[in-house]
């Protein structure tokens, strides 16, 4: 047995089913050993998408997604994918091949200091120096990636270590990390303080972030909200914590969110912020969420608490545990008028659109699409105007909403959808992108074909980098610079080239039947929707 065989044994022991990646000489021993296992390999068409696909898979399975790429450019290409996962706290194991350890530091062919380069985007990284360390390192890496505040862990393995012989292999049952012990249970005293405030609160609200989904706390949160009739808003990463049509759900907050959601959050007298970073897009004015109210900030990462807004009550711990504890405590929380007020806001502050009838109205289209999607369908939104429309008009039932929130990485949706589909083939998975973001990942159509991954792709086409065009419209008074997407391929011909069935919607006339055809079978299909180039989110 060699180091590469040992790595594969570690992955099998961790229950890894799929590895996304792109080989090169420095990772060849790994890709040779993987042939002897039942782990599926998926050849993406650029390394960045290996990390995105692993991210899509991780978000569906709750376990770290795995990708493996070669040294040098393979490793540097994967950085954007790692940074995207890091920004959204998605657990990944990124394995990079590396040049011979004796040559490290001498700038040989395809050498890149990848552990140094990713330092600020990983939760932790390893450079394997001794083949006997492989089982311990992999055990630790999976543990670190998927506990506490989750995130990517990179393991750089020089080719000589992959080829070195291993005397005996045993995968450790337990990790012993002297220096790493994340807090899981919420502090009892702090929990009591929150309950005391809830008893007094007249206008309580919960703002749920992506951390709620990462800790599988959505059910406990919903039960708690229902038990005490507490309204819930969410950040972009928190979409899906509550079904969109739940009577206690009041939409996404932030500068691209719903006006009534922001008003609800700002007017509350007790705000429970959970699993959210309070970053600028969700809370552009942190003053508003600290003034005249009690701010409870719950997060598994103590460094998030107080970083952007000073909370009245900090509460460190895992959201699932904390809401479980809340559910076990009996107390009264009376605030009947508050919900009445919020429901009035929901009507009076509902977004008003003025769609151009010559084109597809993205809002109406997305609403109809999500109503026709399977209840547990997975909607993967890309980045750009399409993302904001998706956030605003997609209706989550029992499914998931995946997007790149923290980093806003264009091209995320198609590879992430591939990962999500491979995580659970029974589920319907739809990637919704713009024509800009589509072209950042369109090479993956080949991966979809090759590995028969039946994800559905919707391209909202407006021939512009719409989000930037919109910004230039407002900020530079329509002086457009480098946002025109002329030269884009004919998507019908492109689909034909990849042997992918294609549909087009020019306007809203045949929207219902087109969506029905599009969703009918569990097979890859592309749907192009022509959007008014001047439409605004």
């Amino acid at each position: 047995m060699n180091g590469a065989d040992a790595i594969i044994k570690c992955l099998s022991a961790e229950g890894v089913k799929v590895v996304f990646g792109y080989p090169g000489v420095a990772i060849c021993p790994f890709y040779n050993s993987i042939l002897q296992s039942d782990i599926q390999t998926v050849l993406v068409r650029t390394e960045q998408n290996a990390a995105h696909a692993a991210s899509g898979m991780a978000r569906m399975t709750g376990k770290p997604g795995v990708c493996a790429v070669t040294s040098g450019p393979g490793a540097t290409n994967v950085i954007t994918g790692i940074a995207t996962a890091f920004a959204d706290s998605i657990p990944l194991i990124v394995i990079t091949g590396q040049v011979n350890s004796e040559l490290l530091g001498s700038d040989v062919f395809q050498e890149a200091d990848i552990t140094g380069a990713v330092e600020s985007f990983v939760k932790y990284s390893y450079l394997v120096k001794n083949v006997q360390d492989i089982p311990r390192i992999f055990k630790e890496a999976f543990h670190i990636a998927n506990t506490g505040r989750k995130g990517p862990v990179l393991i750089d393995v020089p080719i000589d270590i992959q080829n070195a012989s291993v005397k005996s292999f045993s995968y450790p049952e337990e990790v012993s990390l002297r220096t790493y012990k994340p807090t899981v249970k919420g502090h009892v005293v702090q929990i009591k303080k929150v309950i005391k405030e809830l008893e007094k609160a007249k206008k309580p609200i919960i703002c749920a972030g992506g951390g709620v989904l990462l800790s599988n706390a959505e059910e406990n949160l919903r039960l708690f909200a229902e038990k005490h009739n507490i309204p819930v808003v969410s950040t972009m990463m928190g979409i899906g914590v509550m079904p969109t049509k739940h009577p206690l759900y009041f939409g996404m907050v932030g500068n691209n969110g719903k006006a009534y959601a922001n008003k609800a959050m700002n007017e509350s007298d007790l705000l429970i912020m959970v699993g959210a970073r309070v970053a600028d897009r969700a809370v552009s004015q942190p003053d508003l969420i600290t003034q005249n109210k009690i701010l409870v900030h719950m997060d598994v990462d103590p460094a998030e608490i107080g970083k952007n807004a000073g909370p009245t009550i900090p509460l460190v711990g895992d959201a699932k545990h904390i809401f479980e504890e809340f559910l076990n405590q009996e107390f009264e929380c009376e605030h009947d008028d508050w919900l009445k007020i919020l429901n009035e806001y929901k009507v009076s502050l509902a977004p008003k659109r003025n769609p151009n009838p010559k084109y597809v109205d993205p809002a109406a289209f997305i609403t109809e699409l999500s109503e026709k999607m399977k209840d547990d369908g997975v909607y993967v939104a890309d980045v750009g105007q399409n993302q904001i429309w998706s956030c605003g008009y997609h209706i989550v039932k029992e499914g998931r909403f995946l997007t790149s929130g923290g980093m806003g990485t264009m091209g995320y949706s198609i590879p992430a959808a591939m990962g999500a589909k491979l995580a659970d083939k029974k589920r319907q998975v739809i990637a919704v992108c713009g024509d800009g973001s589509f072209q950042m990942s369109m090479m993956e159509l080949a991966t979809i074909r090759q590995h028969n991954i039946p994800v559905k792709i919707i391209v909202l086409k407006n021939n512009y980098l719409g989000m930037v065009r919109q910004y230039q419209h407002f900020t530079y008074k329509d002086q457009y610079s480098v946002v025109d997407l002329s030269g884009s391929p004919d998507l019908e011909k492109l689909s034909a080239a990849y042997d992918i069935p294609f549909l087009r919607l020019n306007n809203m006339d045949k929207v219902t039947e087109t969506i029905e055809t599009f969703l009918e079978k569990d097979e890859t299909m592309m749907l192009e929707c022509l959007i008014d180039p001047m439409d605004l989110v």
């Binding site: 552990t115 450079l127 002297r178 220096t179 460094a303 970083k307």
Partner: protein
């Protein structure tokens, strides 16, 4: 702006210092000095960091450093409850006739002369930063050729709150 001294206990593995210094640079925290060395238990390093910033930044520094996987413990070394020491080596130009003046100053500060050559001498001084600053100021009458300061190392007084070694 305030100044705080943090004491860290970290895994004694390669890359720890770069992870810590990288954290300071990418988050824009001010670091005045950092010293590191192995503890009595060779698995750990003790690192003393002097950082400055407002209350919010200093609180973030403590939390962000604590979050690093390699870092086992972080605590503030409060001036009243701790001892700090820094070592400085100062090379002063002094011909034979000037030497005695430097030596007398060094004696007052309990500093040691550790090297003498025809053109100058090297003084070693240990103490808190104020003492070293004061000594350097007094040497201004001479020409300081080279100066090397270690940055401070510190421990808290007493035997309470001792984590590991």
């Amino acid at each position: 702006m305030q100044r705080k001294v943090f004491q860290l206990l970290a895994d004694n593995t390669s890359g720890v210092l770069s992870r810590i210094s990288g954290l300071f640079s990418r988050r824009g925290y001010n670091i005045e000095s950092i010293t590191a060395g192995v503890t009595a238990d060779p698995r750990y390093s003790r690192i003393t960091i002097v950082a400055s910033g407002d209350d919010k930044i200093l609180a973030q520094i403590e939390k962000q450093v604590a979050k690093l996987v390699d870092v086992c413990d972080v605590k503030e070394l409060k001036p009243a409850e701790s001892v700090y020491r820094e070592l400085a080596l100062i090379k002063v130009r002094a011909k034979a006739e000037e030497r005695q003046g430097v030596i007398s100053l060094a004696n007052v500060f309990r500093a040691n002369i550790i090297d003498v050559s025809s053109e100058g001498l090297i003084v070693e001084i240990t103490g808190n930063q104020d003492k070293i600053d004061a000594f350097i100021k007094l040497l201004e009458g001479y020409e300081i050729l080279e100066l090397a300061r270690t940055g401070i190392a510190g421990l808290c007084r007493g035997t309470k709150n001792v984590i590991c070694l």
